[in-house]
Amino acid sequence: MSKQCFFKQHNIEHIDYKDTDILKKFLNPHARIQGKKRTDVSATNQRKLALAVKRARFMGLLPYVAR
């Protein structure tokens, strides 16, 4: 059985790009966004998550690439 969406579990409706502690949970060691099969996040929230990560990258809060 698959896990419930992280954001639904914690009642998070708006995924904030400044909330890097949470966003980092969904990145792999190369700082790429993990797929929804790995994250177990609902499709809606996966899209919001991707947007938040991209905003955080633009603002220099998260890296585009990491080694």
């Binding site: 400044k18 909330d19 949470i22 905003r55 603002m59 220099g60 890296p63 585009y64």
Partner: protein, 150 residues
């Protein structure tokens, strides 16, 4: 008409910005006040804000000030959440774009409520981890070891 005005007035935006590190900490309030003045002039109301704090950037950014290109590795990051008409965004965008003190900025639509859950969730997880640790007594451990040995 009234519903339309209520709708436009009810839009909540947030501007996140990096102030260049060459600005001294004493002059930081001036930069924040300049942004607030633009919002005030457009009759926007400030909902919440965070004063800029110096933080390391995830990658080196380049800021062109006049002919010089500066490589910047850290900056003062702050944000202001506000509510106002959509014209505010265009005005703010124009002002920040031309500023030499603002390294980078982002204006997004957001919600009135607090949207930062990270610290709370992490502390909750930590607490759960410590609570879930097996609390077997010394006797129980000895018994299980004896079983294994025999």
């Amino acid at each position: 008409m009234t519903t339309e005005t209520a709708k436009t007035a009810g839009t909540v935006y947030e501007v996140g910005f990096h102030v260049v590190p060459t600005v001294s900490p004493e002059n930081l309030p001036k930069e924040v006040d300049a942004i607030k003045a633009i919002l005030g002039a457009q009759k926007a109301t400030i909902i919440s804000e965070e004063f800029p704090k110096l933080r390391n950037l995830a990658y080196t950014m380049i800021k062109a000030i006049g002919p010089a290109r500066h490589r910047i590795d850290s900056a003062y990051f702050g944000w202001i959440k506000f509510e106002g008409p959509k014209e505010t965004v265009a005005e703010l965008d124009k002002a920040l774009k031309g500023s030499d003190k603002i390294l980078r900025y982002l204006i997004v639509k957001t919600v009135r409520e607090n949207t930062i859950y990270g610290p709370k969730i992490l502390s909750d997880e930590k607490r759960e981890m410590t609570e879930k640790k097996p609390q077997a007594s010394q006797e129980e451990i000895d018994k299980s070891i004896d079983k294994l040995v025999v």
